[in-house]
Symmetry: C2
Subunit: 203 residues, 2 copies
DNA sequence: AGTTTAAATTAACGAGTGTTCATATATAAT
DNA sequence: ATTATATATGAACACTCGTTAATTTAAACT
């Protein structure tokens, strides 16, 4: 173990990659350890050299669900919020990129598949997926209200309204792409949403 | 077979009832025919006197997912839409009742659990859950636009914006109730949504 | 009464599941 | 070259799954 304690086979990474794809397609129960193993060309017993059991594989995979690189620090919010529509435009752009990003798409599918089967996921969904984003947006809206850029009201409520539609679009996109259907009708939905919403709140 | 071809045991109904509860809690794969059988006090083989196989039980159960009694005929829409906010208030009231109705709650959970595992459900979700409701709402908004009650725009788009938040609230409520958590914070969210939205579109 | 028919039980099947363990192979360190 | 270590294999385990078959029980009809 001079440099790394792992031989260069990288089997563990392969397992995680394949498991991610399978879990996000067939769910936890729909994915067998045999399937994971054969997919990467080894026997199922070899998996247990890298992971304690099936669940620990899932846990490691599902860790990445909420590692969304949403880059918004407080200072940036204050700066950006004063620009009004550009602020929410920026937010939605990031959201859209995540929606159509291959890895994030898998993670979102996995989240949706296991949401009602996994209590921890539900709680993370509420905190990481909802509260966190609402907070960021609400801060922006609060700034706008103070500067009379948008109509006054409850910033949290405004953020809730805004984000709920984003989620809904993302869900629809995910469902369509799951069946390899076209998302043309929804590709501009994000922008339409920004326009509609801005028209609803601007002063 | 003088009156009915079934003896009065009513086992078939019991199966459907128990299966509904289990499917909506643990999903299709998480529910075994043995569990369904023992839950109603019979052996698993007895199930096959009433249903061909497990899937046919699920199909019969899932039939009820989209039998939502959303009572809105065309004439009623035209009448009601002229009243503006009262129209969307009425719509949301029905939506809220469904959200907190015990049977509909189970059906919604079942829908969410199997959404990514069942292609037919996805298509029904799009048509019955989305398109149908968007259409009803869009008709109402169109009437309002023609009578200068709300600002003009794409009625379908407006309906999409409106319904996406309803869905999001419903999802959150369902998740909270799944863990027997309080939904106090969300109980007035439906009404808040109506207020916010009406403020956004009224003229 | 006896006959028919529906619905239940008992038992077993083949297949798939996650996991374990003894063994073999191959790479790295001494 | 020898030892040590990491990783792979083959085989088996106990278990659960959906489904089928033969048989028994019980109710309904004639």
């Amino acid at each position: 173990m001079n440099t790394e304690q792992y031989r260069k086979t990288g089997t563990k990474q392969k397992i995680l990659k394949v498991a991610t794809a399978l879990f996000s397609e067939y769910g936890y129960k729909g994915t067998s350890v045999r399937k994971i193993a054969t997919e990467i060309g080894i026997k199922q017993s070899a998996l247990y050299n890298h992971f304690e059991n099936k669940e620990s594989i899932f846990l490691e995979v599902s860790k990445d669900i909420f590692t969304t690189p949403f880059t918004f620090d407080d200072e940036e919010i204050k700066q950006s919020a004063l620009k009004g529509k550009a602020f929410i435009n920026k937010f939605v752009l990031q959201y859209k990129l995540l929606t159509f990003d291959k890895n994030n798409e898998k993670m979102f599918r996995l989240l949706m598949i296991e949401l009602l089967q996994n209590k921890e996921l539900r709680e993370q969904f509420m905190s990481e997926f909802h509260d966190k984003n609402v907070k960021v947006l609400a801060e922006g809206f609060f700034m706008m209200m103070q500067n009379s850029i948008v109509r006054s009201g409850d910033p949290m409520m405004m953020a809730y309204e805004f984000i709920s539609t984003l989620f809904y679009i993302r869900l629809q996109v995910t469902l369509l792409r799951f069946d390899s259907k076209s998302t043309d009708m929804l590709s501009t939905q994000f922008e339409k949403h920004v326009d509609f919403f801005w028209e609803s709140i601007k002063l």
